[in-house]
Amino acid sequence: MNHEFLSTDHCLKCNICTASCPVASVTDQFLGPKAVGPQAHRFQHPHYALPDVSEEWCSSCGTCTIVCPHDVPVAEMIAKMKERPHRETPWRDRIISRPEVLGRFAARFAGIVNRLINSSRVRTALDRFLGISSKASFPSIARTSLRKSLRDYYVKSPNRLEEISRLTVGYFHGCSTNYFEPLIGELAVRILEALGLYVFLPPQVCCGLPLQSNGLFDAARKLANENIKYLTPFLREKIPIVGTSPSCMLAFKHDYRSVLGIDTEEANLLANSSYDFFEFILQFVPEDVSRINYNKVTALALYHPPCQLRGHGIGIPALTILRRIPGLHLEVSDLACCGVAGTYGVKSERYQVAYSVGEKLFQQAFALDVDFIISDSETCRWWISKHTELPVYHPLEILARSMGII
């Protein structure tokens, strides 16, 4: 997928991408991935922007690249068009694209911040003055961050690792697990340990994907290079990295090189050593996974595999394990995206489109009268929960429940 200038010519104009695009299907303001991607790409000048701004409607869910049978990097082309140095990026976009800064700040005043973001007056003001939709979902801030509660797991460099014979893995928790959902990180570590692994937290910063989605490529590249710098020493010791957030792991596996254009040996090493949580355990400790003594979890659940997970091109590994849990009746959503796509649905001017994209998922949950919903990505969980008023769990929370860890 790196040779995009060649593969533009692989586009047959078959419209498979347009037919699958969640955004184009609900708004005619977006011309569709074929028209905005490969078609417009032929006319793009390296220094001048296209007059058409319809690409701003793209939510960067990546569905077009996944469904394209001819290896045309449609989503990557559109993503790159968002890097427009001469265009003003709204303040709002500069703020919502920095979860780490927001989280670090908010964690100090968790109680107050949580009360404020749930106040309708504050939300109306944010909507009015910043363009952050009052109907969008916000996470609540944890009082204790994951890094604080798992202080002892921090390992700065590979020579500080204990000499052990067990399989060792570095856990990349990402910003949201650290500041908003530390429970998921704690459970991830406990499951990995129960499966016989040695887990540690390597030094890390935000993956940079929110900045990239908002067109702030230089800032995103800076974070990417920092992560590469921190993680490379571990990777050189053949220690893999596992993540519980599919979007961060997609950045490592794919976006650093194919969108941000970081074309180094270290970036390749990171891409080839990064794993989704369920992909990892199925591939590295399949025997231990098959020996898990699953307890019953009696429930009817709707599982929505996020667009960012589909972007990995690894299928839906969590499904393999969820299906082994006795008592759990699963329905699988066939919707390509829940609508929010990271920060897209948070923006006032995009909210309605994002909602329409996810509406069929919400309706499916109501029609089936499910007990809860399962989804791997944090922004999907908050968004779906906000609109269905149902609990939405990470699949590993269900696994932890079945293993008796919670």
């Binding site: 419209n15 347009t18 469904v67 001819h70 090189r257 589909r310 690894i314 299928g315 839906i316």
Partner: protein, 408 residues
């Protein structure tokens, strides 16, 4: 390690995955993207020349139909009808009677099975019909459609321009744009109110195929009831709803039966060199810029022909099979791949891998290349599926045989 690994998510790959998963095999399906099904007309063409069951014995010996056998075709068609019936997406037609359905430009397409909304059994060429054209919908050619349908003997009274509620759209509408809206019952009610006054005196109306994607049969029935007249749908150029609907039905059925679907990954074949017998051991997956190995006991190749990525023609005249680099029989005369007219039989269509009755790809001497590798659908040599009108019939029959052989 998966029992059966299928490469390709077109009709043959998806169908094979469901057949295998239904008998509790552990199945993984890998595909670079969505298959040819999503740009197809969504019907099952078996043999356009005559009624297939009668002419079967006259088909030449090296044709995929003869290799797979009539029994496989019969079983496959029954299995296909069961799958679509269970998904509430019924098909009309059978192997013993051909259907003729109008195309987007009013030609008549000969097929064996068509979705109910396309092949409404009550519409004959003596039924007086009207054709609706929808404002803003691209690829909608009412004048040509009416003229050609009349020339084909249909009693077309007139075409009726129909509009959509709301302000004018910012761009041409795709058939999928409308289908998503028709999925919504309140939109259907709104449209019925708007269109009803324009349809007085009409008993039967043909519309471009835009009536829903997610539960199309239910949408079709309810909209027909709302309008109070007989409806039928005419497939549009891609994106074509009948193809997309069938694809959705098959994907969802496969997931329901536990098929592990990996989309967006291309594959390179892996050969097991540790054994004396020649076997494949799985594939190397290329996804999101990184590579992973996927081991399998049996592999079914359903990658299609030149148009679908199963075969690659290079400029030097060489032709390659894209996953396992299987031996192919071809001449390096590149111009000879194409016939002078697009409507002629195309020599390139007949290229592909030769198989035995177990659907195992054969080397140039006629021996199976790998003991545990099977092929299905358009990758198999010996048929001009376009001019024969046999594309989907071959997909189903060879997938049926390949799954039987792989499970043995």
């Amino acid at each position: 390690m998966t029992d059966i690994l299928i490469i390709g998510a077109g009709l043959s790959g998806l169908f094979a995955s469901i057949l295998a998963a239904k008998v509790n095999a552990d199945v993984t399906l890998v595909s670079a993207g969505h298959g040819g099904l999503s740009i197809s007309h969504g019907c099952i063409d078996v043999w356009s020349k005559a009624t297939p069951s009668r002419s079967f014995s006259r088909i030449r010996k090296k044709h995929p139909y003869r290799i797979a056998g009539k029994r496989a075709l019969d079983i496959a068609i029954a299995a296909f009808e069961e799958i679509t019936h269970d998904a509430s997406y019924p098909f009309s037609g059978s192997l013993s009677r051909q259907l003729f359905i109008p195309t987007a430009i009013g030609a008549l397409h000969c097929t064996a099975l068509a979705p109910y909304s396309l092949a409404h059994s009550e519409i004959t060429n003596t039924t007086p019909i009207a054709i609706g054209s929808i404002a803003g919908l691209r690829d909608c050619f009412p004048e040509m459609l009416v003229r050609n349908l009349r020339a084909n003997g249909y009693a077309v009274e007139r075409s009726i321009p129909l509009s959509l509620p709301g302000s004018e759209p910012c761009r041409d509408l795709y058939s999928t744009d409308l289908a998503y809206r028709f999925d919504d019952s309140s939109f259907r009610e709104q449209i019925a109110q708007l269109w009803k006054p324009r349809l007085s005196g009409i008993h039967c109306l043909g519309l471009p195929a835009v009536l829903g994607l997610r539960q199309p049969h239910q949408v079709f029935q309810s909209f027909q009831e709302l309008l109070g007249i007989k409806l039928f749908e005419i497939p549009t150029p891609p994106p074509s709803l009948p193809g997309l609907r069938l694809e959705k039905v098959l994907f969802n059925t496969a997931i329901h039966f536990g098929v592990n679907i990996i989309l967006g990954s291309s594959a390179t074949g892996l050969i097991d060199r540790s054994q004396k017998l020649k076997r494949v051991s799985g594939i190397k997956l290329h996804a999101a810029n990184s590579s992973r190995h996927l081991k399998a006991r049996n592999v079914i190749l359903a990658t299609g022909g030149f148009l679908h990525g199963g075969l690659i023609a290079r400029r030097d005249g060489s032709i390659h099979e894209s996953v396992f680099n299987l031996p192919l029989d071809y001449s390096e005369n590149r111009p000879a791949l194409l016939a002078p007219s697009i409507f002629d039989e195309q020599p390139y269509e007949k290229h592909g891998v030769r198989v035995n009755s177990q659907m195992q790809p054969l080397d140039l001497k006629g021996d199976p290349v790998y003991e545990n590798l099977f092929a299905a659908g358009g990758i198999i040599a010996g048929a001009d599926r376009q001019s024969e009108g046999s594309r989907q019939g071959i997909d189903l029959a060879t997938a049926q045989r390949a799954v039987e052989a792989a499970l043995e």
